[in-house]
């Protein structure tokens, strides 16, 4: 099966800045794929290359097998992009905006789908409002609706939930998940790591224009060994356990353990010392831990020796 997105040895430099530096990335059809990285890592540039908003200095990008430069009409038909910036055309109503967008993609009578998209994004009662009258969150919804106007098999969301209220975030993800279940490929960039962890099957992490990690979300999260234990004790921690302390406030401790197997000896040690456990919670490593670790490693690797 053709990959939904195929990025091969792609380079994009702006002066001395290597925005995207020899990136290889293959996203299969039907995936929910996350692209993470700090600000300026090259996420948006990569998306711009995919969407034809920027032209690569080297390498090849294709969408469902179509080269985005040479076969741009085909590739753009198959791609729906929600841009990061909150942009809108101030002259038109929501419905006009969506009809125009359909027309750009060669769709004449698209009102049934437009109504459906508006319904899913809670835009129906705003259909005849001018874009200028909408709040920021509502404008963001219209951007999503515009990207979906031509039912693209590949959907790209560039930080769609930045500055968006909880309600929209929920309804947006419900809808995007539904589309993903229906077979649409989704490529998401976000700063909310818990969001990426909950939604994405695979994740690539970008730093300074390079892919520094690429794996399934499960493997990435599993790559950070150990766990953390939060304890409230009846007395002080035995001296032998002090090296494990990450945080401490009175008799509240946060301890780092190398693995779950270390939990039982810990409790045994406490019992022997006659210290009772009043409260306890075990925290699994999450994507944030992975992210911080990967970014730190990449940073050290990039440092000149």
């Amino acid at each position: 099966m053709l990959p939904a997105v195929d990025v091969r040895k792609v380079r994009k430099h702006y002066g001395n800045l290597r925005a995207v530096d020899d990136v290889d990335l293959r996203i299969e059809q039907g995936e929910f794929f996350g692209l993470l990285g700090p600000n300026g890592a090259g996420k948006t540039t990569l998306i711009n290359l995919l969407a034809g908003l920027a032209l690569p200095d080297g390498g090849q990008v294709s969408v469902m097998g179509y080269d985005v430069v040479r076969q741009y009409r085909n590739s753009r038909m198959l791609l729906g992009v929600v841009p990061q910036e909150l942009v809108f055309d101030p002259f038109f109503t929501v419905r006009e905006t969506l009809r125009l967008q359909s027309g750009y993609f060669g769709l004449r009578r698209n009102d049934a789908w437009i109504d459906e998209v508006m319904h899913h994004l809670d835009l129906s009662d705003k259909a005849d409002f001018n874009m200028r009258r909408l709040s920021g969150g509502m404008k963001r919804r219209v951007l999503v609706a515009q990207a979906l106007a031509h039912k693209p098999p590949v959907i790209v969301l560039d930080e769609p939930t930045a500055g968006v209220d909880v309600e929209l975030r929920r309804s947006l993800w419900r809808f995007i998940r539904q589309l993903n279940r229906d077979g649409h490929t989704v490529l998401l960039t976000t700063h909310y790591l818990e969001e990426a962890e909950a939604l994405c099957g695979r994740i690539a992490m970008l730093k300074q224009g390079k892919v520094v990690a690429l794996d399934s979300t499960q493997n990435l999260v599993g790559s950070v060994p150990g766990c953390r234990v939060r304890l409230r004790l009846s007395g002080g921690l035995p001296a032998a356990l002090l090296p494990r302390v990450v945080e401490r406030a009175d008799n509240d401790y946060l301890l780092a353990l190398p693995s779950y197997q270390a939990l039982e000896p810990l409790l045994a040690e406490l019992r022997e010392a006659g210290v009772a456990v009043l409260e306890m919670s075990v925290q699994q490593p999450d994507l944030e831990d992975v992210f911080l670790r990967v970014m730190k490693v990449a940073h050290e690797a990039a440092r000149p020796c």
């Binding site: 032209l55 942009v87 002259f91 038109f92 125009l100 967008q101 027309g103 993609f105």
Partner: protein, 251 residues
């Protein structure tokens, strides 16, 4: 094809939605010119024998308005959507550079002709120039506004702020229109300026357009037609090449 048609509709809709600024105010400006110049010069100047100055002035003013509005339309629409970022919706869509070019130029021609027709109809109240060759009038109006619309596309793409676009308008478009014989026949100019005017494409646009009204002109209308068509082809070729390369649009 539908992409072109949609983009064209969007551009025409934009003109309609801000009609006060895009249609009414240029008509008012042209009428003010007509009122003042005809009042001051009516008694003093007779350019063609038997033609009142006001009647002579009307075609020039109509064409000036057509040209300026064609330029203003494509250039300001483009820079606006660049600054607000709305251009991204067109850039993301499978719109070819040809369709992009034709849509912006056609919409600008439509606005130019609409404003020109408005000025002409309102000016009839002051004087009624003859209509010798209406097809020549239409031909020059279309070719001239298409040329300026194409120039407007280039200006809109090149400019990064309104300031730069205003520079284009004030230092290129305005001097070339004013020095083209809108208000006079170039035969009334000193030899040097007369010679210089022959290098100004606006002169040929206005002279050819005026020929359609009076059947008389400073140079042969065929020469004007050749110059204007040549300029349009060159300009369109340049604009299309620019759009194809993605200059300042696809970074």
């Amino acid at each position: 094809m539908l992409s072109f048609y949609t983009l064209l509709c969007k551009e025409v809709l934009r003109v309609q939605k801000v009609a006060f600024q895009t249609l009414l105010s240029p008509i008012l400006t042209a009428l003010l010119y007509l009122l003042i110049f005809s009042h001051v010069l009516e008694q003093h100047v007779e350019v063609y024998p038997g033609v009142r100055y006001t009647a002579f002035l009307i075609p020039g003013l109509v064409m000036m308005t057509v040209l300026q509005n064609a330029f203003a339309n494509s250039s300001s629409s483009l820079i606006q959507s660049k600054i607000t970022g709305g251009i991204v919706f067109v850039l993301l869509a499978p719109v070819t550079y040809w369709e992009f070019f034709l849509a912006y130029v056609t919409a600008s021609v439509v606005r130019g002709l609409a404003v020109g027709a408005g000025v002409y109809l309102a000016a009839l109240w002051f004087a009624q120039p003859p209509l010798q060759f209406p097809l020549w009038i239409l031909l020059f109006a279309v070719l001239g506004s298409a040329l300026l619309a194409s120039l407007g596309v280039v200006a809109g793409i090149w400019s990064e702020k309104f300031d730069q676009l205003a520079g284009f308008q004030n230092f290129i478009i305005m001097p070339l229109t004013f020095l083209s014989g809108v208000f006079y026949s170039i035969h009334s100019l000193p030899a040097f300026w007369q010679e210089l005017s022959r290098f100004n494409p606006f002169f040929y646009m206005i002279d050819g357009f005026r020929y359609g009204f009076f059947g008389a002109s400073d140079v042969s209308p065929w020469l004007s037609l050749a110059v204007v068509s040549g300029c349009l082809l060159g300009m369109a070729g340049f604009t299309l090449a620019l759009l194809k390369s993605g200059y300042k649009l696809r970074l």
